[in-house]
């Protein structure tokens, strides 16, 4: 691969959009100043399954400030029901509690909300079923799981090998339903100026919102424009449009020419913006007495909504982490009357590696081996599934570097040996991995301006990921110019197509398109192109994509203190060592990796969405009930990486870092809790009640 020479890449440039965000002047979706706005407030179903018999909107309509009410009887008809999540206000059917069943458009947010309160609904309720368990008789195998992976895999005879193994681990792990909960709620301003629809949206992909919304409304793609320069986090939940986009568009059709402002409330975020499925994972490991794996069996049960399927790829990392001649993985789904699960930071790897890496810790204990050494003994020479050689597998270097920095060798392997004034202290380790994805379909355009300036355009997204800064650095190196000479434009469908900021693929895919466009510019216009010269190119397919197994790896080390009286767990120290190819910007990369680890800590100790089976909704649907890590939870935490350039991955040498930081983090903490207390917690989150017996 022809690599670009790093000059700006690798330097700790400060966030280009930093000052505007720090002053609060960078406009997020809801903050675009538009004339004569209206406000939308939805009405949500209070049953989880059934149909609407009657909606009485008169009291709302007569309220001062209310402009219009839309219901399934009065909203415009949509053109496509292909995506059932987006089939909004089109029928009397209710699929889950909290579904949009009407919406009030008003002059002010206060009257929209007051109007929504006055809508009277009569239902015919059907029996709903939201009870998730591994013992259900109706579990089924989806055709494939998320990202197109096979549902089941089978190598050798895993069951027999497990039965015959000298050492066995057979444990069941559970992870709860979790919500992405970005700080900026899902938000859209929709304006219908016939024949054009404009959405100011908070999204990880302006172009996929445009395509999906256009299809849903029966518009041509070029009738829809989506603008999203700044995004207040997403972590997957803003990776695809949800029902609120369609509801805002339907409302906009009702008040042509006027902007309709719509932000989900924090409570609404818990049923309308996606979530991570709970998982029940039975993990079986068979090994020789000296810790060589002979069998790996990973059986996953998770849930999907009944009206639209989403199958998290939880067992996928198990297919590549460790060597074993026999291996079986399986996903089964329970279809329930709940909202649709969706992407949440490292779908698949995050829950799957929790189970797998705690199981490895249990095996290390069973074999009397150091957990780092156990992983060394099971390092596969090639990808166990495809038999492809590794593109750049540096798991062992990460583990060794982490062990050195964390002073791992000083650790007494026996559990419950260290304490300090009523706190038990322990440490744990876990591996981390994430695939290198480059998505095809992005295009960048570069135009030369006066005095060696360049305008680089691509409809990419920055949801805190640093895109404004790192794409500028990549463009500068691709064009062999200083970063100051690059004027980057992102976050608007007026720019060339960009694939989603998801799967840690953003910088790899968009950056490569920019590199290709710079090469095209030179090919067409020579080394010193004149002002006005322009070139455009798409992300090409990597030459090594089919022949090499390309993944990032990492090692997470955690130290915890567990209160002997209250069972409270405090993380006292955490270190992540990652191998992710070239790090484009070390200042921003460290933030993002630590951010992932912090979310992993949050998963380990706090996060749990509790479904009330009587009513079918998440009962702890706000930040008072759904706890996420706060400042006081994070103490001594750091992320470092191997000095590495991956010349098989991208011409920048990078592989993407948005997700790997969370993977394995919860397992490292759970393993540390075991080491501190001697109690193995297999069910997240590790709340005090599980440790006080």
């Amino acid at each position: 691969m022809q690599m670009i020479e790093p000059r700006a890449m690798g330097t700790p440039l400060q966030r280009i959009d930093g000052a505007a965000k720090i002053m609060g002047t960078a406009p997020y979706a809801f903050e675009h100043r538009l004339e004569r706005p209206t406000y939308l407030h939805p009405v949500q179903s209070t049953i989880a399954r059934g149909r609407i018999l009657k909606i009485d909107t008169r009291a709302a309509e007569s309220l001062e400030g209310v402009i219009a009410v839309i219901t399934h009887e009065t909203a415009a008809r949509l053109a496509s029901d292909e995506n059932k999540e987006l089939w909004v206000l089109q029928s009397a059917k209710v699929h889950f509690r909290g579904q949009f069943i009407a919406a009030v458009i008003a002059q002010t947010p206060e009257s929209a909300r007051a109007g929504a309160d006055r809508i009277a609904v009569e239902y015919e309720a059907a029996r709903h079923d939201v009870s998730f368990s591994g013992g259900r008789k109706d579990l089924y195998a989806p055709k494939t799981v998320n990202a197109g992976y096979p549902t089941d895999t089978n190598q050798g005879d895993a069951e027999t090998a497990f039965e015959r193994a000298e050492v066995k681990v057979d444990s069941t792990y559970t992870t709860p339903m979790e919500h992405n909960s970005p700080m900026e709620p899902h938000t859209t301003i929709a304006i219908w100026e016939s024949p054009k629809l404009t959405l100011y949206d908070s999204t990880q992909s302006v172009h996929s919102v445009r395509t999906t919304v256009a299809k849903s409304l029966g518009l041509k793609v070029d009738q829809v424009r989506v603008v999203s320069p700044y995004v207040g986090g997403g972590f997957g939940s803003k990776g695809e449009p949800h029902a609120h986009n369609i509801l805002a568009a339907l409302a906009a059709l009702r008040v042509p020419g006027r902007p309709v402002k719509f932000a989900l409330t924090r409570q609404q975020m818990f049923c309308l913006a996606g979530y991570r499925t709970p998982t029940i994972q039975r993990f079986r490991l068979g090994a020789t007495r000296d810790g060589r794996l002979t069998s790996i069996i990973h059986d996953v049960v998770e849930l999907t909504s009944r009206f639209k399927e989403f199958a998290e790829q939880t067992a996928v990392p198990t297919r590549l982490m460790y060597a074993s001649p026999n291996r079986r993985t399986r996903h089964r789904l329970a279809a329930l009357d709940l909202p649709k699960p969706s992407w949440m930071r490292a779908p698949g790897e995050t829950p799957g590696m929790f189970a797998g890496e705690v199981a490895m810790d249990e095996l290390a204990v069973a074999c009397g081996l150091d957990p780092v050494e156990l992983r060394v003994r099971n390092e596969p020479e090639r990808n166990p599934e495809s038999d492809n050689p590794w593109g750049n597998r540096h798991l062992l270097e990460c583990l060794r570097e982490g062990a050195r920095r964390f002073a791992w060798s000083e650790r007494d392997p026996r559990p419950r040996q260290r304490s300090d004034r009523g706190w038990l202290i322990g440490s744990g380790v876990a591996s981390s991995t994430y695939p290198r994805y480059v998505l095809l379909g992005s295009r960048a355009t570069i135009r030369c301006g006066e005095r060696g300036q360049y305008t680089v355009r691509i409809g990419a997204a920055d949801l805190g990921t640093g895109t404004w800064t790192t794409l500028t650095q990549i463009a500068a190196d691709a064009l062999q110019c200083p970063v100051e000479a690059v004027h980057l434009e992102i976050g608007d469908t007026e720019q060339p197509n960009a694939t989603v900021a998801g799967g840690s693929s953003g910088i790899s895919s968009w950056g490569w398109a920019i590199v290709a466009a710079a090469q095209e510019l030179r090919r067409l216009h020579g080394a010193r192109p004149a002002a006005g010269a322009e070139a455009s190119a798409q992300t090409p397919k990597g030459a090594d994509d089919e022949t090499f197994a390309q993944h990032s790896f990492g090692a997470q080390f955690a130290e915890v203190r567990v209160n002997t009286l209250t069972g409270e767990v405090r993380l006292s120290r955490m270190l992540g060592v990652f191998s992710a190819g070239r790090i484009i910007n070390p200042r921003l990369a460290r933030s993002q990796l630590i951010g992932g680890m912090t979310m992993g800590l949050s998963m380990a100790l706090h996060e749990e969405s509790v479904v009330d089976e009587r009513f079918g909704h998440v009962i702890n649907h706000d930040f008072a009930g759904y706890h996420i890590a706060a400042n006081a939870d994070v103490t001594d935490m750091d992320a470092v990486w191997l000095d590495e350039v991956d010349d098989r991955s991208t011409p920048m040498g990078s592989r993407g870092i948005g997700e790997i930081g969370i993977v394995g983090a919860a397992a490292a903490i759970a393993n540390a809790v075991y080491h501190a207390t001697g109690t193995r917690i297999r069910n997240l989150p590790i709340t005090p009640d599980k440790l006080v017996t």
Binding site: Q14, R15, D17, G18, A19, K21, I22, M23, G24, T25, A26, P27, Y28, F30, E31, R33, T108, P109, E110, S111, S181, P182, M183, E184, P185, Y230, G232, G233, F235, A263, T265, R266, L463, G464, T465, G466, R587, L588, R590, S591, Q592, I594, G595, M597, T598, M599, S602, D622, F623, A624, I628, A629, A630, N631, A632, D633, V634, T635, M637, D638
Partner: protein, 172 residues
């Protein structure tokens, strides 16, 4: 019901007539176009909407605008007149104490309010004893900043930025 109020926002006198149900947060964002107060939860649970109200940190989503008539509001934008960042804001930039930036203006206002509270001798949950004012250890900073959630997980760098600002204050 409507009411007319006057607010001093980032140094500027602003008069407005609004629905008495309007929160200070919505008054700032929807009526005055001030975006530096963010809406993360609207329930006093996240801190994104924090401003300095007459010098004290306040969650504006829990304050009704009419109850704030005659007060002075400072947002993160007002801390940077003419775009010149306040030293604490500069420290946020240098320490990369943000990712998506949505919690950031609230973090900044909260940190400034917190520093004043500490200086005035207010104890926190982790302060040992009430006899002497607390030293602002990292633990104290973390505790006192825990009303401001950051889903991007920028806490490590937020503490570093506040530390930097404290150190810069100490060296004239």
């Amino acid at each position: 019901m409507k009411a007319s109020i006057t607010l001093r926002v980032d140094g500027e006198q602003r008069s407005l007539t609004l629905d008495t149900r309007t929160t200070l947060l919505d008054a700032l964002r929807e009526h005055l176009g001030v975006t530096a107060a963010k809406k993360g939860c609207d329930h006093g649970q996240c801190g994104a909407c924090t401003v300095l109200l007459d010098g004290r940190r306040v969650t504006t989503c829990l304050s009704l605008a009419v109850a704030c008539d005659g007060t002075s509001v400072t947002t993160a934008e007002g801390l940077a007149p003419g775009g010149t960042l306040h030293p604490l804001q500069q420290a946020f930039l240098e320490q990369d104490a943000l990712q998506c930036g949505y919690c950031t203006p609230g973090q900044i206002c909260s940190a400034l309010g917190m520093l004043d509270e500490a200086q005035a001798g207010h104890p926190s949950f982790v302060t040992e004893g009430l006899a002497a004012p607390a030293e602002l250890s990292d633990e104290e900073i973390r505790e006192r900043m825990s009303g401001n959630l950051c889903r991007c997980g920028a806490y490590v760098n937020i503490v570093a930025a506040i530390r930097q600002a404290i150190a810069e204050r100490a060296t004239p």
